[in-house]
Amino acid sequence: MTEPPSPRAILEAQAVSYETGSQRLLSDVSLELLPGEVLAIVGPNGAGKTTLLRLLAGILRPTCGAVVLDGRPLGAYRPEELALRRAVMPQQSLLRFGFTAREVVAMGRYPHQRARQSDRLTDERVIARAMAETETHELADRLFPTLSGGEQGRVTLARVLAQDTPVLLLDEPTASLDIRHQHGMLALAQKLARRGAAIAVILHDLNLAAAYADRIALLCAGQLADLGPPRAVLRESLLTEVFRCPIAVRCHPLSDCPLILPIAERAAAPDSASPG
């Protein structure tokens, strides 16, 4: 939050809309993703966060508008070219075959091997670093389907890092992580951004977004409600309206970033105060 991100966008959504059948999941969203920044995408359930991320990834094609990567529309790339430029971390993995965690991470090297842009030593080094950064090296020989949800998430992130791309798109990477690994994962995202990566990450926890994002895109009912630095976007009135739930925003007593506090609506109180 101290350095200003460099101005040239690497990935850009230009007025994108997406419809399936009669449903309009996303309408007229424009945003830029800059090298060196962590952009958090937040919003209520069904606001279109995952749709936006999949459009940015080129997994879905926009009904209207375009997504441009490095000056070229995504549709002009072949899948293997895209894979060298952006990596996508899905919400959850469907893998049911008994690959070891290390084998899963090594799959991230596929685009480089296919393009013959890597050798065995580079592969080994990148895989080892990705596993060290995600603290997954002790899981290396475990079978992926036997790992817990949080462990699978970290291994999948390691796979995404092994892909070694300038753009990272992460769909709720913190979903099933414990508090230490939630912060660890976003601190890592921030570190990668400082090295020059452009990172878009869907988050449900607004406090994590406040603490780690350089900018926040707030989605509501398929539209971009606001886009800007955490302090500008995380306003009491806006959040209360978008999430349809009373929310207070204070200043974090220790770190000086916004602290988002949902206000519990209690039913008529029983006599004794509940603990916690």
Binding site: R54, A57, G58, I59, R78, P79, E80, E81, L82, A83, L84, R86, A87, V88, P90, S93, L94, L95, R96, F97, G98, F99, T100, R102, E103, V104, M107, G108, Y110, P111, Q113, R114, A140, D141, R142, L143, P145, T146, Q163
Partner: protein
């Protein structure tokens, strides 16, 4: 290599002694040895005994290398005209079925997939039964295999075409389409069977239980190019297949041209299975189970799984054919009966053992 070894030696949820039949490092040497043993047994056993040394000497003699081992001219002609083509055909068919099964299980991300799923077996059966009933033979003895092969290929094309929408195919739709098409083709075959005379019925039953017995150099060489294409081409996609089992979107975002990979692999599997079914009838069990057995030893990596399945399938079918022609000699059992009878219980045992050992079978 590190992971391969540690996979064998790391205790997981299981006691370290549990489970593995052999260590993965011995996988390929072991499979090659098994195949060699199966070939020598098949060449040697039968109404006329031919010792391994004699078999080698006969082959060497044909190639113009005289060895000191004695053999009779009868032994030479039995080996050359009967046993060798039969061994070659059994190995080819076994390899084709097992490799098709392993490939399709990856393509469909489903360990229950087998070559029958894409309609190739039921299409081939309809082609074969129709030929038997019509009784026309424009291509002589090759008529039935040709009709079976075309039937299998057409059925696969129909399944793929019907499952395709907007240039994409959804895996679940593909599986369900296959089930529906198999039902229709099976019903058509059933109706023709109902119309058949007693003699035709016998031919139908014989064909649908599978047999390598008709093997000649002619049939073997006819199946060879089709199966060879699959054996050589399918493993080239194994790295992409590894990513495909992560899920379609993940494979796409890792740069795999998923639709092209899937179409190529289904086409190759249909080609191999079609050729195998055409010359040997319907031999169940091999395509479904051999990849599972191999996976328990090799792990799920298709770069090992595909070639290992082909080798194991060849050995398994050779042993099954040996049993088929020796157990009830001088009569021959249908080989499909042998594979299912011996393989079913073995697979059940393996499943239970694997379940005790780790959470996920396969």
């Amino acid at each position: 290599m590190g992971t391969v070894l540690s996979r064998a030696f790391t205790a997981r949820r299981a006691p370290a002694t549990g489970g593995r039949l052999v260590t993965p490092a011995l996988l390929f040497p072991g499979l090659v040895a098994l195949l060699g043993l199966a070939i020598l047994l098949n060449l040697g056993l039968g109404a006329m005994e031919i010792r391994p040394a004699q078999a080698i000497a006969i082959i060497a003699d044909r190639l113009g290398i005289p060895l000191s081992t004695d053999f009779t001219p009868q032994q030479a002609s039995v080996l050359w005209a009967i046993r060798l083509p039969r061994v070659a055909l059994a190995a080819l068919v076994g390899a084709a079925l097992a490799l098709s099964g392993a490939t399709l299980q990856g393509v469909f991300r489903n360990p229950l997939a087998d070559p029958g799923l894409i309609g190739v077996s039921s299409g081939a059966a309809l082609g074969a039964v129709a030929t038997i009933l019509v009784g026309l033979a424009p291509f002589g003895l090759a008529t039935l295999p040709i009709a079976a092969f075309l039937g299998g290929l057409l059925a696969t094309l129909a399944v793929y075409g019907l499952a395709r929408q907007d240039g994409r195919t959804d895996v679940v739709t593909l599986i369900l389409t296959g089930i529906a098409c198999n039902a229709v083709l099976g019903a058509a075959t059933g109706y023709l069977t109902f119309l058949a005379t007693d003699a035709q019925l016998r031919a139908i039953v014989f064909w649908s239980l599978g047999s390598i017995g008709g093997a000649t150099w002619d049939t073997t060489l006819r199946a060879l190019p089709l199966i060879a294409v699959g054996l050589l081409a399918a493993p080239r996609w194994s790295a992409a297949l590894n990513l495909l089992v992560l899920g379609e979107e993940e494979a796409t975002s890792l740069g795999v041209p998923t639709e092209r990979v899937r179409l190529s692999l289904i086409a190759l599997a249909a080609l191999m299975t079609g050729a195998a079914v055409a010359v040997a009838g319907i031999i169940g069990f091999v395509g479904l189970v051999v990849p599972h057995i191999v996976r328990l030893v090799s792990g799920p990596d298709h770069r090992r799984l595909l070639p290992a399945s082909a080798l194991a399938g060849a050995s398994l079918l050779l042993m099954a054919d040996l049993a088929a022609r020796t157990l009830a000699a001088p009569a021959e059992l249908p080989i499909g009966v042998v594979t299912a009878f011996a393989g079913g219980p073995f697979f059940l045992w393996l499943l239970r053992r694997a379940r005790q050992e780790r959470a996920i079978p396969g």
